[in-house]
Symmetry: C2
DNA sequence: CTCCCGATTGACTGGTCAATCAACCGGAGG
DNA sequence: CCTCCGGTTGATTGACCAGTCAATCGGGAG
């Protein structure tokens, strides 16, 4: 039991899947591509996962649950609504900086693929929106934010703006070279929060 | 030539495709589904279009070119940057109100499907972003907007927020019942523009 | 009435993969 | 040395579907 380095094949397959999905997109990748990239036999993929879909589901769940925790954490820890939203934005931008391929897969194949996997995970996705909406609602309650914007609208606009920015980098709409992630994040948070302030 | 009502089969097929794509998504619809929905034979689809892809391309081009014109028009006609952006937002929201199924197809299958059709139409999509960025840049030049936000960032955030809101309706994240499109649009434009103002 | 041609039909083909499964390997335990 | 068993292999199968194509229809021109 628990041999020293079991060369965790399951993890190997997941990591390979991230690379291949990011490169070719989910629909265009064959299970054999994943197996080849991981350097394992075709059938082994089916030993660890019951279908190609399940591989993507696993990747999404792993990452999205971290986001949900991060939002809760931001809500609990940060002082002002503005700092809470900044913390959320920071987590998402850092996720992209840390593993752009994984974020590309999650955004392109799940979050924005509402006809396929987005449908399956609609509930988890919505949970994130609602947590952000709660931050906005609290900000309205304390008078930091104006009260005439439905919190859910603000939440969607906030998250949508972030995702669109990430998509811009992912697909080269914005050149990645002259881009400082932190600066972009600050500008985005500043703009949205200023827009949400009273008057 | 030009008989009175030629029962334009080509149009019939395109309209049927909108409904089927909206219902099942592009990948999940077979060409036979489109033919059945249109009430024509399978082969006729290939008489008018050279592939299933071309049907979707046609739908996208038709509508996106209208958006590009609308943005240009807004830039030329409206007085202030804020009114220009409001006009752009109005056009997009009205497009959804007028034909939600078509907008769903365009957003889900093209605009946000950057691994498949988005790739093909990246250039046209980017052109819209750039036109919006130009409006922002002009607003900065005239001192209406603060100058420390890259126009392209603002453009992506603006468009991304709109699209996320539409997605919210499309997929039921936001209940459509307690929603007034015009109100939502005004709030969005107000928030973003307030956020873009100096100080 | 006949010819012609574009519109229309739908059976059929070819290729692609996801998923299955029987066989194989190697180490732990007896 | 043998047995057992989970991990591993990759050839095979079965389903699915985009795109082809030969045949048919129908109306206008001669």
């Amino acid at each position: 039991m628990a041999q020293a380095p079991p060369a965790d094949k399951r993890r190997l397959i997941l990591d390979a899947a991230i690379r291949v999905f990011a490169r070719q997109g989910f629909h265009a990748t064959r299970v054999s591509d994943i197996a080849d990239e991981a350097g394992v036999a075709y059938g082994l993929v089916y030993h660890y996962f019951k279908s190609k879909d399940e591989v993507l589901n696993e990747l999404f769940i792993e990452r999205w649950s971290l986001l949900l925790v991060a939002i809760e954490e931001a809500d609990k820890t940060a002082a002002s609504p503005r700092e809470k939203l900044a913390a959320v934005a920071t987590f998402i931008f850092d996720s992209y900086r840390h593993d752009p391929e994984l974020m590309k897969v999650i955004i392109v194949e799940v979050t924005r693929a509402a006809n396929s996997f987005g449908q399956t995970h609609l509930e988890e996705i919505r949970r994130a929106y609602e947590s952000i909406a709660k931050i906005v609602a609290d900000g309205q309650g304390s008078g930091t934010f104006r009260g005439d914007v439905a919190p859910m609208f603000a939440s969607l606009a906030f998250y949508g703006a972030i995702e669109q920015l990430l998509s811009g980098w992912i697909f080269g709409t914005i050149p990645a070279s002259d881009t400082d992630f932190d600066e972009a994040r600050d500008l985005l948070v500043t703009t949205i929060c200023d827009g949400l302030e009273p008057r």
